[in-house]
Subunit: 179 residues, 2 copies
């Protein structure tokens, strides 16, 4: 079965700092015309750092939800930036920890119905403590949480961020030799 | 530490079929003015259905990525709709299976930097086969895949959708008594 949709014309409605919005003219697989709303985003990278069984999480206010969320450190890719560099940079900016190395776990698509954002999920190896220095419009605190407590917070719905759930579930599965 | 940001004025740039875009005037925790780009979305629901160790996945073209993706069945909430109703409806529309019951596993935030979308992840119990009837602009095929194969596809990056990874990792952890 042919599932492909074709772009006829890209129409930019908004070009912003974080996202662009397009409402394209497209063709469905059966050739009928349709409109497709989509967000262009440069991509993001995040990093799981575990030290002595404790997971490093950052707390910040997320405007879109009007809530403070607990998440693994993360940020947006600069133009042309290797996501591994983004991951290491964001870990340092948000928490002060400087990793020796980061390893890619997953390339994740957060909500494929309307965004082209790719989120690169890394784990950090051998990070040493330094001084955090967030962007001037970022207000962030960070702490280590025992992995089993993080797992319970996910199950109770106290941690809801997709990249964080995936990274923590990966850590649990890996730790039990299931991956 | 006060992390709260305050809305000064909501500014709608676009109101669409799937998303609205706002670029709000807001105040940072230190009182300085800032702009906040955000997507309004009504929310989505999805459903994990496992039969005899096999997971039901749908394949569809995702315009924003220009790729066919494998995902668990999912769809957008109608205005005022209970997400459990959405989950059961989408399972039937996309695959023909009618669940006896759906249980909420997680309320997930896909990418909290710019969207307010909440994705409700359910598992289906006791679904019986019927006839699928997708929306007229949806072109979808569905199949059952052995859970260990789905796990390998996630690890190899062949399945990248966040809600699907979370639901499958949950299934694996639960199956091993780890949740």
């Amino acid at each position: 079965m042919n599932l492909q949709e074709k772009t006829v014309k890209k129409n930019y409605v908004y070009r912003g700092k974080i996202v662009n919005l397009r409402v394209d003219d497209a063709l469905l697989p059966d050739g009928k015309p349709c409109k497709r709303e989509m967000i262009e985003h440069p991509g993001g990278a995040c990093v799981l750092f575990v030290r002595e069984g404790k997971i490093l999480l950052v707390r910040q206010f997320r405007y879109a939800y009007g809530e403070e969320l607990l998440e693994i450190p993360a940020g947006k890719l600069n133009p042309g930036e290797d996501p591994a560099v983004t991951a290491a940079r964001e870990l340092e900016e948000e928490t002060g920890y400087i990793p020796e190395k980061v390893n890619l776990l997953y390339t994740m698509y957060p909500t494929p119905g309307y965004t082209n954002e790719k989120i690169y999920i890394y784990e950090a190896e051998g990070a040493r403590a330094g001084k955090e220095h967030p962007d001037e419009d970022e207000f962030i605190t960070s702490s280590f949480y025992p992995a089993d407590e993080v797992c319970r917070m996910i199950e109770r719905g106290e941690i809801r961020d997709a990249k964080t759930i995936i990274a923590v579930q990966h850590y649990l599965l890996k730790g039990k030799g299931l991956l």
